[in-house]
Amino acid sequence: MAHTVLTQADITRALTRISHEILESNRGPDNLVILGIPTRGVILARRIADIIQRIEPAATMLRVGSLDVTLYRDDLAHGRTRTPSRTEVPGSIDGATVVLVDDVLYSGRTIRSALDALGDHGRPTIVRLAVLVDRGHRELPIRADFVGRNLPTATDERINVHLVESDGDEFVSIDGGSNR
């Protein structure tokens, strides 16, 4: 059924690489705000912040938080009523470089909602996007700046992301799909 595409070690390696890439594109840790999108994006954001901290021990100004997009979704009229998660934006984001972090990039609608939400919190100079997995099938003109792994998928497949903090174990797997 489900087959694992990323092990815990793969995930750690991917996050380390992303952290380096973030530092490189930002020319250091200054003015960085890392915002995870609940639930697993927040965990990934914290890990990335930790890695950056280790790489750049002097980066005391590094800020990390969460940005819930529930109240900005464009599909609220459908499905079950969603319970929002906590938004914690650490200080002003005006003029900052914000890195949004999510586990899986798919249609792009969540990121569209996140950009709207972010706009209501302030005006960052730059907004970047980091994702653990990009599975394709975009519905909006959105792309990730930092990608852990590109995984071509069929639309009827499901990507499962498990992280130790939320699930007790850690891997990324794919299941379902008619042609596998």
Partner: protein, 320 residues
Amino acid sequence: MRHLLSTKDLSRDEAINLLDIAEDMADVAEREVKKLPTLRGKTVVNLFFEDSTRTRISFEAAAKRLSADVINFSAKGSSVSKGESLKDTAQTLAAIGADGVVIRHPASGAPAVLAASGWIDAGIINAGDGTHEHPTQALLDAFTIRRRIHGQASRGTGLDGVSVTIVGDVLHSRVARSNLWLLTTLGADVTFVAPPTLLPSDTSLWPARFSFDLDDAIDAGPDVVMMLRIQTERMHAAFFPSSREYSRVWGLDDARFRRLGPASIVMHPGPMNRGLEISSAAADSANSTVLEQVTNGVSVRMAALYLLLSGDRKESKNVD
């Protein structure tokens, strides 16, 4: 949530979830942009068969902060009293395309009748029906108590072990009823203090304590004292002899207020009769949450509107 008609059937989880969402809504009020796009394209009708500017503007602010369109329909003294029925009004609102109806009505049960009628398919929020319930008032009271006690750590918590003494015209108070069910569901201990004439004749099914002696109740050191508004018309129906006697025996005067603990919370749903059920010193003290209650009212009503008007209505659970 299909409708919000009563706090009686709200489960503890549902109540805490609503209060937690209200915390998120309160956070939004702290931001530079206080508006959310959440209910864009939804229409909320404030259907008020009874005057209450305070409650109406609170719901109006809540709906507008969620980007809903708001229509205020004041049915008092208009065609309704000349025989236009609740049914006709409801069908009119359905034709207008209301997604949510916030109803205030002098008849107990009118929101329940509207919700069960099939005249309109909108989510119904009871904004006070007769002497029955006023669920959003109780929710904002619970929210206010929780914030005072738990502060930033409020999310996910109930009111376990919190002692709340509610004083005044319990018989005619929808606020008292809604608070009874909600506060006890959240784990609080509720005591009602009132003249015997202003308690229901049979309170055997109410999970609360009852007392006729406010001084005893004050000396018991409650965490919260909630004073209910007394309507002076009641004395004409022989519920109590005079406002002077009421104030002396059942009012939170300066002396009683001073006997309360320093951390105790003094609440009033408003509008207050200063000098009658509550003294100015008590109402304006640091213990008083009267203005916080107004602020929190908007957050709680945003949460209620969000829960009612988002999601597929066919899949939502009926809470009444």
